[in-house]
Symmetry: C2
């Protein structure tokens, strides 16, 4: 099943009473720094603190009554974990979250606050899959992959849908890319609304699998991704890559320094909290981009979950 | 001249096309922590990063054409300095800002960015007054005191006016208190709208001149105020104290620990940046306040100018 623009519109109808319609903010000073007219879609204000709740809520609401009863399962140490736990709680069904033993206390606390049940696994992929398989069998629940899933992709696309509904068409939209759920949903929503909107992914130089896969035309998983943008370390899945390869106009790489500078500018000038991953799309505009100069550009600020005890400034 | 409710309404009419109508945000989790229904008036999103722009803009627009030509003068090392510089720039008149030699580089940069002319003075009150007097004589400009000024008080009251206009009447409004411009404007606006709204000032224990003056019924200036809330170290003026003494329902003291905890909760849960002074009014709700339990409470988040290089967490 291929995700289409209609799936995103249907997802939006389904989830809109459960999600926050996040604000679109503008900033004269950031416009002047970027040399363009920017429209920031503030998913840092989304429930669970990130866009991830859109996809998770859509996936949870897509389950039949019977499937819903046995709950949902995922493995994640990041924002998808909390988002799925909250989505499951919203439908009053169980959520089993497989997390590595060394997951951060903050992220575990978020899952527990939302009523999710944490099952620890070892640090290897093998251990994670083994534990997840066992939970799947024991519970009879449904696995909800963090991004390589049509329901997730359609849900994530609703952020860009709301953005263009609110401000009208744009010359370009920039979104961070990690596993590709947000970027693939964004490009389907944007081009469905207006095929002339260019869509770019923004990725850390130090976790550049999407850039290399896009250039090569085939999936090249990251080998040792390492970035302060902890939400951007995953590698594309086959479903997200098929969409990205076909539809996206380019991938911009950003340095660690640019990510931190972008995050600081957004905090200082817009007075809002975004996480490093959330700042990556604005970071791409700290370099000169002649093709975007003076244009109307949507920026997806993907999330705001940051550990205040370990800030990069 | 006494400030009346009508002065605040007139000020609002005068300044409203120049200021941001800042959003009123709510947060279920902070409601649950405070045990009340909170409405946060987000002056951290105001131009210049603080409510101070309201009063400064009102004062600048109140000048006759002739007085305006020679510009405005103030002495301030804080948010009033940047706000007055921006207000003057908005009317295209000069602003002379007397700042101590040791003022923070961040604050000086803000003044310069807004086109203000900085004149340095020594660290003593005598030096500050001497330098300000000289600038007054040389320029022929008008002194705009940071808070002990009717035009400033009326301007600051417009934040509470917008708040009650937007969410309807409230059981109480909490505002930080330092020199008292915000608190006196807030109480006149609130009681002018509905005399049953209780209004409380919130002040650091370590800069408690408003608390002590309010208890004693006479002005008792702070001797050695010292708080992380650098915007709350000033002492009341005679004009602000007259209003506060007569109209305000009480002053809550908050500890340094409560200010930092309040600031952290707002950053983490609401994903917005407030400065320590801005968090003081929410800090007052981290103690049990039976008289406010379950009530509809307005919270003035006064500003968001914080030096990210020296955070308390």
């Amino acid at each position: 099943m291929q995700v289409r623009f209609d799936d995103i519109k249907h997802a939006h109808t389904k989830i809109k009473s459960y999600i926050h319609r996040t604000p679109v903010l503008t900033s004269r000073i950031l416009n002047s720094i970027a040399g363009a007219r920017l429209f920031f879609k503030c998913e840092n204000f989304q429930k669970s603190g990130a866009f991830k709740f859109r996809g998770a809520m859509n996936a949870v609401l897509s389950l039949s009554e019977e499937d819903a009863r046995t709950g949902v399962i995922t493995h994640s140490s990041g924002n998808h974990a909390g988002a799925l736990a909250l989505a499951a709680k919203t439908r009053n069904i169980p959520a089993f979250i497989v997390m590595p033993e060394n997951a951060s206390e903050v992220k575990e606390a978020a899952v527990r606050d939302y009523g999710g049940r944490i099952i620890h696994c070892g640090l290897t992929l093998a251990s994670r899959e083994e534990v997840a398989d066992k939970v799947l069998k024991d519970s009879g629940g449904t696995l909800i992959h963090p991004y390589n899933d049509e329901r997730i992709i359609a849900g994530q696309g609703t952020a860009a849908l709301e953005l263009v509904e609110e401000v009208g068409t744009l010359d370009a939209i920039l979104a961070p890319v990690s596993g590709g759920g947000l970027l693939s949903g964004t490009v389907l929503a944007a081009k469905g609304f207006d095929e002339n909107i260019r869509v770019y992914g923004c990725e850390p130089e130090q976790a550049d699998d999407a850039y290399r896969s896009f250039q090569a035309g085939k999936l090249i998983p990251a080998e040792s991704p390492d970035s302060i943008a902890d939400g951007l370390r995953a590698s594309l899945g086959d479903k997200t890559f098929q969409i990205i390869k076909k539809e996206v106009d380019g991938i911009f790489l950003v340095s660690e320094r640019q990510i931190i500078e972008a995050m600081r500018l957004i905090w200082e000038r817009m007075k809002i909290i975004v996480e490093p991953s959330g700042a990556a799309s604005f970071a791409a505009l700290l370099l000169s981009r002649p093709e975007l100069s003076g244009k109307r550009i949507g920026i997806i600020l993907s999330g705001g979950n940051v550990d205040l005890s370990s800030l990069p400034f």
